[in-house]
């Protein structure tokens, strides 16, 4: 790191810019830290890459239209995954119908209406705790509350509501955060025009916060589609010979199906297992991609 001053000065002058021992050491350390942290980041990506790679290589050959759109045969050792695929979509759709309105409404209340008092703080604490509850505990809660007490039986409705309770904190927290990123000045300007709080929320705050709300929904979708424990007791069957007709039917589900063909059924080929896993992960990534696309479209329309 020596610089020539270009002006033909004496060597003594250029020494002014020469790296001291301390400089070199700092530089070396800086390079080391950078390499180390870069490596950590790389390690983060490696499992994702390996998982996707292995799934594509080993499960790819299994994927066909017939695999996706036919029923399992021969005690699930052959055939397709259609009922599980449809079942997962039912579960995701119904649970979003429950968790999104409730979660968004709660977040609007907490962010736009609630005063900062002890009650609000208790609610916030409850939400954080709800997010930390293990999924198997949610499963037991759902079994007691929805299957037995509410009398829904083991059904899509009970399973979806259990999943909704589980994903509620994700939706609430993401929505609240995004509502709070809308500048206060927007609201004040609106109020000054004589608008009520609700008018302000509806016309100014929500349209500006929608991309953040969708982030919450994306996270909820991924979790809903991938969970096994909460639906095991509440609505998912190992095998159900028909597609579900209503929310009171039981259903098969992708995550559960993968669990079953991997642990309970002898003779299911590895290709079938990897194919199911690949389809599940693709389904989640696809749903995420649609939401992400929509979100970036809305963000592009943002005027600030």
């Amino acid at each position: 790191m020596t610089y020539s001053d270009g002006g033909g000065g004496t060597p003594g002058q250029s020494l002014m810019f020469a790296a001291t021992k301390l400089n070199t050491r700092n530089h070396r350390l800086q390079w080391l830290v950078r390499a180390l942290f870069g490596l950590m980041t790389l390690i983060l990506i490696v499992p994702v890459g390996i998982i996707l790679g292995v799934l594509v290589v080993r499960g790819g050959p299994a994927i066909s239209l017939e695999f996706l759109f036919s029923f399992p045969r021969d005690a699930m050792t052959a055939g397709g995954i259609f009922p599980a695929l449809v079942g997962t979509m039912w579960l995701v759709a119904v649970s979003l119908m429950a968790s999104v309105p409730v979660g968004v409404a709660a977040a609007i209340y907490l962010s736009e209406y609630a005063a900062d008092n002890w009650l609000t703080r208790v609610i916030n604490l409850a939400i954080i705790n709800l997010a930390g509850v293990p999924s198997i505990v949610h499963a037991l809660f759902g079994f007691g509350a929805f299957v037995i007490f509410a009398g829904f039986g083991t059904s899509i409705l009970a399973a979806s509501l259990t999943l909704a309770v589980m994903t509620l904190p994700v939706v609430i927290v993401a929505t609240r955060e995004s509502l709070q990123t809308v500048p206060m000045a927007f609201r004040e300007a609106c109020w000054n025009m004589g608008a009520t709080r609700w008018q302000t929320i509806r016309i100014v705050v929500l349209p500006n916060a929608i991309s953040g709300i969708l982030t919450g929904v994306i996270l909820a979708v991924s979790r809903t589609a991938g969970e096994t424990a909460p639906i095991m007791f509440t609505g998912a069957a190992f095998f159900f010979p028909f597609l579900p007709h209503s929310v009171f039917d039981q259903t098969m589900a992708m995550a559960m199906h993968l669990f079953v063909i991997s642990t309970a059924v002898p003779g299911a080929s590895d290709e079938l297992k990897y194919g199911t896993a690949l389809t599940l992960i693709t389904l989640v990534l696809l749903m995420n991609a649609v939401s992400i696309g929509f979100r970036s479209y809305l963000r592009g329309k943002k005027k600030w």
Partner: protein, 292 residues
């Protein structure tokens, strides 16, 4: 956005009203069948076949273990419980206190096979030896104590593969082989029979057990002898004629004397069509049947 918000209440109502339709019956009746992981494999096949024969009835099958099925029957979330062990008196009393009289059906028999890695030279085991291996206080910890050295198993230690404790297979093995003693600590408790087979097939040091129907070509099954008796290999035939020492009946339980579609389903299972599916899956039938 405002349009979306106006739509939301309707979505909520539509969920609620999906309920109104569903509860009045969507033209299809559902039988909930839950329980034993040993039976789940054949229960799946029954449900699959029955759906083709009688499309107006849907049989939803779930596993989880015999205990899971029995408690589901008692709390009303299953119509038929599958169990690879008899209901315990405590469980029957629990059901009766809720006004449920469990009715027992023997739907077949299962030889409980012991699995070894194909490299393991052992070809015969006695019940006593199995108890020494699995039961608490038993002396056998290494393969050399059984007089063999297993290629690929350098530690010489016997890796005991077992089932989770709500499994009927776990309970039956405990009764029939361990003489009701506890399992040794440090056994591996697997959640499914095919998990046991997979693990043993890949672990030279391992020994495991589960229903014969779950055996694959990747594991060896030693013949089993009682003290002083002949050593009998597990097979459907030796389970039927009672020569194989650790064969057990498989049960299904209904809540009260079944009527209507549940009765029809049980009759079909115990009839020739159902029994032949059971035989096809590697179990022994409850009565004598002639299958193609």
């Amino acid at each position: 956005m405002s349009r979306t918000l106006r739509v939301l209440p309707f979505l909520l109502v539509s969920v609620a009203c999906g309920g109104c339709d569903g509860s009045s019956g969507a033209g299809r009746d559902i039988i909930q069948n839950k329980g034993s992981d040993t039976l789940v494999f054949v229960a799946l096949s029954w449900a699959e076949r029955y759906g083709e024969i009688n499309p107006s009835v849907a049989v939803a099958v779930s596993g989880g273990g015999s205990g899971t099925g029995i408690s589901a029957l008692v709390n009303g979330t299953a119509d038929i419980a599958n169990s690879s062990r008899k209901m315990r008196n405590r469980e029957i009393e629990g059901a009766q206190s809720r006004g449920i009289e469990p009715i027992e059906y023997v739907v077949g028999f299962d030889a409980l096979a012991v699995f070894l890695h194909p490299d393991n030279p052992i070809e015969a085991l006695s019940i006593t030896q199995l108890a020494e291996i699995y039961a608490e206080g038993g002396s056998h910890e290494t393969w050399s104590q059984l007089g063999v050295s297993v290629p690929g198993c350098s530690s010489d230690e016997i890796v005991r593969v077992s089932r989770q404790n709500n499994s009927g297979t776990y309970a039956y093995f405990q009764d029939a082989v361990l003489g009701q003693a506890d399992y040794k600590l440090g056994s591996l408790h697997m959640n499914g029979s095919s998990e046991v087979v997979d693990l043993v097939a890949n672990t030279p040091c391992a020994i495991g057990y589960s229903g014969l129907a779950y055996a694959t070509e990747e594991v060896e099954m030693p013949c089993i002898s009682t003290d002083g008796g002949d050593c009998v290999s597990p097979s459907v035939e030796s389970a039927i004629d009672g020569r194989y020492p650790i064969a057990r009946p498989l049960f299904m339980y209904t809540a009260g004397e079944p009527t209507g579609m549940i009765k029809e389903y049980m009759d079909w299972i115990l009839g020739e069509a159902g029994q032949c599916i059971l035989v096809d899956k590697g179990f022994a039938p409850a009565g004598s049947v002639s299958c193609a």
